[in-house]
C-alpha cells in the first residue's frame, strides 16, 4: 500500500493570518483511488488547509507536489487546471437551472457557437451512470425540486465531469438524513473506486470508519496523526486524536517532549 505514491502531496505547509499561525508544518497526502478523511475540531485548521489547496489562500511556506511534480497554486484557476475540485458545503447550485445546466455551468459545450444541449445531456447522464447514481430520475429536473442528497450528488457529479484527479468534499452529509447520507457515502466510495483521490471532511466518526481508507487528524494547526483505517481503528481513537491530538502511541508528543522530537 505504501508503495503507491500520493497524487497530491503537501509538505511543511505554514500559514499565518497576522500573528496567528493557523497551519504549522502540515504534511498532508492524498492518494488516487483512496478516501482520505480530514478530521479535527473547529478551528483546527481543516478549512484553511483546504483553502490553501484550492488556491484561495496563498501559503507562507512549504511544498506542494502533484503527481510527484512540484507545483505552485496561486489561485482557484491553478487548482482546477491541475484537476483539483472542491465541493463546498453550500454546494453553489443554481436552483432555477436543471441538473445538466448546473453540471456544465461556466463550461458549456458549444456547437456552431450555440449551446449543444443534447451532447451535454448525454455526458451528464453518462457521468451520473458511471457513479452508479440511482437517485435521480431525470437530468432535466430543476435543482429547485431536488432533495438535499440529490443536490449533493449533482455537486459531486459536476466535479467528476471535469475528470478531476482530486475531489475535496466539505462535510457533504452534514445536512442530510440517514437514507440520503448512505447514498452520498456510496457515491464517495464509487468516486474513489474510479481512481479519484477523495478528501472527505467530516465530523461523523462512524461515517469515516465506514468509508475512509486513511485519516489525517488535525489538532491546533498541526497534523496530529496520519493513519490507515483498519478493522482495529476505533471511534475512540479518532475522538481522542481530535480532542487531544494523541491516542495511545499515535499522535503528537506532549508539550514537554515536543522540543526533543522536533530537534
Amino acid at each position: 500500500m505504501s508503495n503507491d505514491k500520493p497524487i497530491l502531496e503537501l509538505q511543511g505547509i505554514n500559514k499565518s493570518f497576522g500573528p496567528v499561525q493557523v497551519l504549522r508544518a502540515v504534511d498532508f497526502n492524498v492518494y488516487a483511488g483512496k478516501v482520505t478523511a480530514l478530521i479535527g475540531d473547529n478551528g483546527a485548521g481543516k478549512s484553511t488547509l483546504v483553502k490553501c489547496i484550492a488556491g484561495v489562500h496563498p501559503t507562507d511556506s512549504g511544498e506542494v507536489r502533484f503527481n510527484g511534480q512540484s507545483v505552485s497554486i496561486h489561485g482557484p484557476k491553478d487548482a482546477s487546471e491541475l484537476g483539483i475540485e472542491i465541493v463546498y458545503q453550500d454546494l453553489a447550485l443554481c436552483e432555477n437551472l436543471d441538473v445538466v445546466q448546473n453540471m456544465f455551468l461556466g463550461r458549456e459545450r458549444l456547437k456552431h457557437g450555440l449551446l449543444d444541449g443534447s451532447s451535454m445531456e448525454q455526458a451528464a447522464r453518462d457521468t451520473l451512470a458511471s457513479l452508479s447514481v440511482r437517485t435521480l430520475k431525470s437530468v432535466r429536473q430543476q435543482v429547485m425540486s431536488l432533495s438535499g442528497g440529490q443536490r449533493q450528488t449533482v455537486a459531486i457529479a459536476r466535479a467528476v465531469l471535469w475528470n478531476s484527479k482530486v475531489i475535496i468534499l466539505d462535510e457533504p452529509t452534514a445536512a442530510l438524513g440517514v437514507a440520503q447520507t448512505a447514498q452520498v457515502l456510496e457515491l464517495v466510495r464509487n468516486l474513489a473506486n474510479q481512481g479519484v483521490g477523495v478528501v472527505l471532511i467530516s465530523h461523523n466518526m462512524n461515517e469515516i470508519l465506514q468509508v475512509a481508507d486513511r485519516v489525517s487528524a488535525m489538532y491546533l494547526g498541526q497534523v496530529a496523526a496520519d493513519i490507515e483505517v483498519t478493522e482495529s481503528t476505533t471511534r475512540e481513537t479518532l475522538v481522542e486524536l481530535i480532542t487531544s491530538g494523541r491516542s495511545g502511541d499515535v499522535g503528537l508528543i506532549t508539550n514537554d517532549a515536543e522540543e526533543e522530537v522536533t530537534a
Binding site: 453553489a92 461556466g106 447522464r125 431525470s138 432535466r140 429536473q141
Partner: protein, 425 residues
C-alpha cells in the same frame, strides 16, 4: 446498445421513457399544483377579459378593426416589457426604461427632422439607448448601487434629457413613412399569408427539433396538437384580418384596410431573436445562472459584473426599439413619450406574464402575454361604458380611474401568484 447501457439508462427513467399525451398533461397538472404556474394566469386572464368585453359590447369589441387596434396598442408596452425582462431575470429593475424609450425615439425624430437618412437616425438612436443602459449597468455592476436607486435617479435625469431634446417645440412630428407604418400599417393580404406560412414552418421545425432531442419525453401527439392549434389560430386570424375593416362609409368611398398589421411580424421577430439569445446561447445561460444564484455563477467562473453590465445595455437597446413603436403609434414624439405609466405597464406586463421580480425565472414570451392583458384592459373598458353592475352604484367603466384600478389589480394578482408560488416551493 449493450445490455449494461440499457440498464444504466433506466436510472433516468423520466428522461428516456416515451411519454403519452396523458403523461404530459398530468406532469403539467403536477407542476401547476406545486405552484409553478408559468404563463397560465396570463392566458386565463386574456380569455376571461375577451369573454367579459365580448359579452358586454360584442358589436364594438369583437370586430376585426378592434383586433388590429389592440395589436398596435399593445406593441410598445410589449417591447419595453421584453427589455425589462432581461434585468428582471437578474433580480434587478430598470425604472428608467420608459424614458430610455422616449429619449431613443426623440433622438430618432430629431435626426429625421434634420434630414438624416432613416438607417442613420435609427443607428444613432440605438447607440444612445445602449449607452443609457450601459450607464445604468456600470452604476449597478461596478459602483455597486442598487438598481432601484440608480434607475430612480435615471428616471429623473433621462426625463430631463428628453425635455432638452424636445425643447420648446412641444411636439415633433415623425415624417418617415416606414416609421409611421410600423404601428398602424398592414401587410398586403398576400404577404400576410406568406408570413403565416413562414411562421408556421419555423414553428413546426422548432417543435420537431425539440421532439427529436427529447428521447421520447415529448410525444408526437403533443407536437401535432400544438402545431394544429397554432395553424388553426393563425389561419383564422389571417382570414379575419384580410377582410376589409374600413368603416362602412369609407368602404363606399373605396378605402381598403386589410392584412396583418406590421407590428405582428415585428414583435414575432423580436420574440424569436431574444428567446434564442436567452435559451440557446452561452450568454443567455449565464444570465439565467446569475439571476438564480450569483455566488454559484461566480464560482463557476462566470463574470457576474460583465453579465449585469451587458444586461442593462441590452435592456436599453430593446427599450430604445420600444421607443420607435411609441413614436410610430402617434407619428410623433413629445415630452410625454415613454412617460406616465409606460414603464409601470411594461414591468407589469412582464410580471403578469409570469416573469419573477426576484430573478432567475422568466421568458421573453411572458412579456407578450402580459402586454396583451394590459392592452386589453384600456381597450375593452371604454366599450363597456356606463353600467350599474350590482344595481347599486353607477360606474363609468370608460373613465381613466377604473382603467388604472383594473390594471393595478391585475398586476397585484400576478405578483401574488409569483410570491405564493415561491412560498409553496
Amino acid at each position: 446498445m449493450t445490455d449494461t447501457t440499457t440498464e444504466v439508462l433506466a436510472d433516468f427513467a423520466l428522461d428516456t421513457t416515451a411519454k403519452s399525451l396523458g403523461d404530459v398533461v398530468s406532469d403539467a397538472k403536477a407542476r401547476f399544483k406545486s405552484g409553478n404556474l408559468g404563463s397560465l394566469p396570463s392566458v386565463l386572464a386574456i380569455i376571461t377579459l375577451v369573454a367579459i368585453f365580448g359579452y358586454a359590447n360584442p358589436d364594438a369589441f369583437l370586430t376585426t378593426s378592434n383586433l388590429a387596434n389592440l395589436m398596435g396598442q399593445a406593441s410598445a408596452v410589449i417591447v419595453i416589457a421584453m427589455a425589462v425582462t432581461f434585468v428582471l431575470l437578474l433580480g434587478e429593475i430598470d425604472l428608467a426604461a420608459g424614458f430610455t424609450a422616449g429619449v431613443a425615439a426623440t433622438v430618432m425624430a430629431t435626426r429625421l427632422a434634420d434630414g438624416w437618412p432613416l438607417w442613420q437616425a435609427l443607428a444613432i438612436s440605438a447607440l444612445v439607448a445602449i449607452a443609457l443602459g450601459m450607464f445604468t449597468g456600470y452604476m449597478v455592476a461596478k459602483v455597486g448601487i442598487p438598481s432601484f436607486v440608480v434607475t430612480l435617479a435615471n428616471f429623473l435625469s433621462f426625463q430631463g434629457i428628453l425635455l432638452l431634446l424636445v425643447k420648446d417645440k412641444g411636439t415633433l412630428r415623425v415624417q418617415s413613412t416606414p416609421v409611421k407604418a410600423l404601428v398602424g400599417g398592414n401587410l398586403s393580404p398576400t404577404l400576410s399569408w406568406l408570413l403565416v406560412a413562414v411562421g408556421l414552418t419555423l414553428f413546426a421545425w422548432s417543435l420537431w427539433r425539440t421532439m427529436a432531442n427529447s428521447y421520447g419525453a415529448v410525444p408526437r401527439s403533443l407536437v401535432l396538437i400544438k402545431l394544429g392549434g397554432a395553424a388553426a389560430a393563425a389561419i383564422m386570424v389571417t382570414l379575419l384580418l384580410n377582410e376589409n375593416r374600413a368603416f362602412e362609409k369609407a368602404k363606399e368611398q373605396g378605402t381598403v384596410i386589410d392584412g396583418i398589421p406590421y407590428v405582428v411580424p415585428a414583435i414575432m421577430v423580436l420574440l424569436v431573436l431574444l428567446t434564442f439569445l436567452l435559451t440557446r446561447t452561452q450568454y443567455g445561460r449565464h444570465l439565467m445562472a446569475v439571476g438564480g444564484n450569483p455566488e454559484a455563477a461566480r464560482r463557476a467562473g462566470i463574470n457576474v459584473q460583465r453579465i449585469r453590465l451587458t444586461a442593462f445595455g441590452l435592456c436599453g437597446l430593446i427599450a430604445g426599439i420600444g421607443g420607435i413603436f411609441l413614436a410610430s403609434f402617434v407619428d410623433s414624439v413629445d415630452p410625454n413619450t415613454g412617460a406616465n405609466d409606460t414603464l409601470l405597464l411594461a414591468v407589469g406586463a412582464a410580471v403578469i406574464g409570469g416573469t419573477s421580480l426576484f430573478g432567475g425565472k422568466g421568458r421573453v414570451l411572458n412579456a407578450v402575454l402580459g402586454g396583451i392583458v394590459l392592452a386589453l384592459i384600456p381597450n375593452g373598458l371604454p366599450l363597456v361604458g356606463q353600467r350599474s353592475p350590482f344595481g347599486i352604484i353607477d360606474i363609468d367603466f370608460s373613465s381613466s380611474g377604473v382603467k388604472f384600478i383594473c390594471a393595478g389589480l391585475a398586476l397585484l394578482a400576478a405578483s401574488s401568484v409569483d410570491a405564493l408560488s415561491r412560498k409553496g416551493a
